[in-house]
Amino acid sequence: MTGSTDTLFASNLASVDAAEAMVVESAADLGFDEDARMDLGLAIREAMVNAVAHGNAYSPDKQVRLLLAVGTGSIRVTIIDQGEGFDLNQVPDPTRGENLLRESGRGLLLMQAFVDEFSVKRSAQGGAEVVLVKYASETGR
């Protein structure tokens, strides 16, 4: 099953759950095993939280756009917010000793760890555009 969808989500926590469920369902349809589905779901969840909470600051006037492209053996998800974007190089490393006891700041680390390809840039509108790609098997790595 291949194809693509373009979905707009409100900037709230219900959208995080809905986006995660939508992508995980597509992964199941594509035959991803349970571990791969959970990995992808967690990465989507972290990217959506980033977009909803940090990018759009829960603004009712802003939305999160999710582009889902299902290929043969892979899923590519692009999540775009309407915030101000960020520079990945400026994000503190949460695994450094001085940051270990911070309560937040681990989302990007988890996103990168649980998908096979990860990138972030500023979208044409200025917000953050995060791309996450997961392959159905380790052969994609």
Partner: protein, 114 residues
């Protein structure tokens, strides 16, 4: 399934049995409230049993850190019990294994509190 936290006493150690998903929102807020209330009530030896936690996100990890810092700042101890593979992997990835004392046997875990 959202998170649920129940507490029980084993000697002077308070065991928190967590069930479900600890994620941003209800699950993480409930964990914070549970730990805060226990500390306010004077409990200083907390053992968090994560054996029935199916899923945890970065916010859930952050709440474990909050729990640890809240308890240790009151000269208490906060330890983890029964991590499943996914939670264990998360703690390895975030290097929080170097922070938390982790046990896989409740009796030994309870005895480890000074």
């Amino acid at each position: 399934m959202s998170a649920r936290f129940t507490t029980r006493q084993v000697g002077d150690v308070t065991v928190i049995d967590a069930v479900g998903r600890i994620t941003l929102g209800e699950g993480s807020a409930l964990l914070r409230e549970t730990v805060k209330n226990l500390v306010v009530a004077g409990n200083r030896k907390l053992l968090m049993n994560l054996g029935d936690v199916s899923y945890i996100d970065s916010s859930g990890v952050g709440e474990l850190v909050y729990s640890y810092t809240t308890v240790t700042s009151q000269q208490g101890q906060f330890k983890l019990l029964n991590l499943n593979k996914r939670v264990e992997d998360l703690l390895q990835l975030t290097k929080l294994y170097t922070v938390f004392e982790v046990h896989d046997d409740e009796t030994r875990a309870v005895r480890s509190f000074s």
